[in-house]
């Protein structure tokens, strides 16, 4: 059986191909979101619901929110609406919609019927077990991951700082 795993995995691969071949960044972003949700489904079918939920909250959620913010901040006018209508041809949205529909159908079927054997067999890892592992044997890894994020943050702020708005003491010019 195990079709839940294979179906979501196939959607994930197809959507990712759509990301890397897409020329329009917004379309690529939409494909990326489908891909991330499909990967979350893969995690669910593997018996790792915690990882799946995190995938949706952190990746799909954060990217969606950022995307929406950007759209809100770009002051949209009549021209843009017309342009959007011209861009949104069926050829563009049909394919991602089919993929998202497949995922939705899969989710509904799994929720409605007895879904034993739909995913890969094995123990289901609850958030509690993940937590005890992270703060038990992998505590050192968690602490060091914090340093990894700190290093990445310092790198990003140093390289990405705006030269013109900087008075040289690290304080932006008012």
């Amino acid at each position: 059986m195990e079709f839940a795993f294979y179906l979501s995995a196939a959607v994930a691969i197809l959507a990712t191909i759509g990301v890397v071949t897409g020329l329009n960044p917004v379309h690529a972003l939409l494909n990326l979101i489908v891909s991330l949700i499909a990967i979350a489904m893969v995690f669910f079918s593997l018996g790792a619901p915690f990882a799946g939920i995190l995938e949706i909250i952190v990746y799909a959620g954060a990217i969606m929110v950022l995307f929406v913010f950007v759209v809100m901040m770009l002051n949209l006018g009549e021209v843009v609406v017309a342009q959007e209508r011209a861009w949104l041809k069926p050829g563009v949205w049909v394919w991602p919609s089919i993929m998202a529909g497949v995922l939705l159908g899969l989710l509904i079927v799994t929720l409605l019927v007895d879904s034993t054997g739909f995913g890969i067999s094995g123990e289901t890892q609850t958030p509690q077990e993940v937590g005890t592992l992270l703060f038990g044997p992998y505590l050192v890894a968690v602490e060091l991951a914090a340093f990894l994020l700190l290093a990445a943050l310092v790198t990003a702020t140093h390289v990405g700082r705006d030269e013109k708005r900087d008075d040289g003491r690290g304080e932006g010019v008012k």
Partner: protein
Amino acid sequence: MNLTLTHLFAILPLIIVGITVVVVMLSAAWRRHHFLNATLTVIGLNLALASVVWVYFAGQGAVAPDLASSAVGFPTLVTPLVMIDGYALFYMALILVAALACSTLANAYLEGLDEHREEFYLLLLSSTMGAMLLVSSIHMVSLFLGLELMSVALYGMAAYTFKRRVSLESGIKYMVLSAVASSFLLFGMALLYAAYGTLEFASLGLRLVFEDSVGIWTLIGVGMMVIGLGFKLSIVPFHMWTPDVYEGAPAPVSAFLATVSKVAVFAVLVRFMIMSPTFDTKLHTVIAVLAALSMIVGNLLALGQTNLKRLLGYSSIAHLGYLLSAVVALRAGVTDGGGELSFTGQLVLETTGIYLATYVLTTLGAFGVVTLVSSPSRGQDVAQLHHFRGLFWRRPYLAVILTFMMLSLAGIPMTAGFIGKFYVLALNMNEELWWLAGTVVLGSAIGLYYYLRVMVSLYLAEPGEIQRDAAHDWGQRSGGVMVLIAALLTLLFGIYPQPLIDLVQAASPVGY
């Protein structure tokens, strides 16, 4: 498994560097003061170095017997991820010494930068921390985490002087290629996990020993891990990024990249190969071919270089090739059946330890001179060979040191480099790897040519040449002192290597 005081004592070096990161961060946030932050960094690294020595002797029960029995066990397994043993402590010490040298060099270099000099130390410390985690890792998770911690900080360091286009370019190049390498590494790990259900080196090794023939997926998994690590070690054919990144990055960062990152990745590679040996001949043939290619291609490409930093980059490719040929000797396994380390295993560990130590000393010295002569405020790093022309007549001591380092890189007797190369050749002979030994000799012969070319240009007097020079009081500055010490140690270990050999012999990995 809970962390007790024993474990905390064992990872004291790691903790001290971590605390230093936080202290430097807070200090830089409170007041941007270059000298203060540099001093804090150096104090932290020195404390960590002292704690490495303390952990070693406390573990042996030599310093404080009462502590040794109660608090400090040695070797200590700190969670399934980290193993603090003689091997880890030796390489930690080597990494800390290299990091100290790089921070003194950076101090001299960053003086020429107008602003934002403090973050550099933060990144350097984080990267050092990642390297220290790498050499003590016995688990794929800590391997990957250590590698990322080391690399992510290095992206920022390479692109640190981002107003210079080459620096930014080198940072971005390193980031993109490093990410590709990491994904290879992760995929390899995933395949191994799928096949054996474990990520620990030791239990992975146990599964592999009981297999008659290694499955195809295992082989692909290990192969992908070799590709990932090969990228970081810049083994041919994964070496494309090396010269560009070395050239573009600030000179102290190039020194850090050539020493700390290479030492850490190589140490973990050897530990992985020893703890989970695959007796499949295919893998070892692949490694032998990669080693031979690195020696030949690295040396050949270095011939045409006119930039000293690029030249040192290609030379590091060749040196990693020599080192990798030592790993091939592991094909016969490292135990003699009774759980003891075989003579070959002993020799491999000794060779890698000594070669890496001598290579680090020499590279630090060479990059140290480049750093002292160049400064970011004067635009490009001064690394073209013609900038060094006639250096002897302006700065005789610096020129002599650079000459000596070139001799050591070439492996001339009386220098530390000779001892390392001697070990590699002896190991290859002992294992009857004749063609590999031949390649080492051939590579060294080609290498001698371009090392000599650098030396010759140092002594050519060229009137009317652009005067690019080190500061007049370079000998009194910390960077200058570091270069002098590196040169003296290279000479000392070249003449009397016994202390180094004793040190390496004491640094055996756990279980042996």
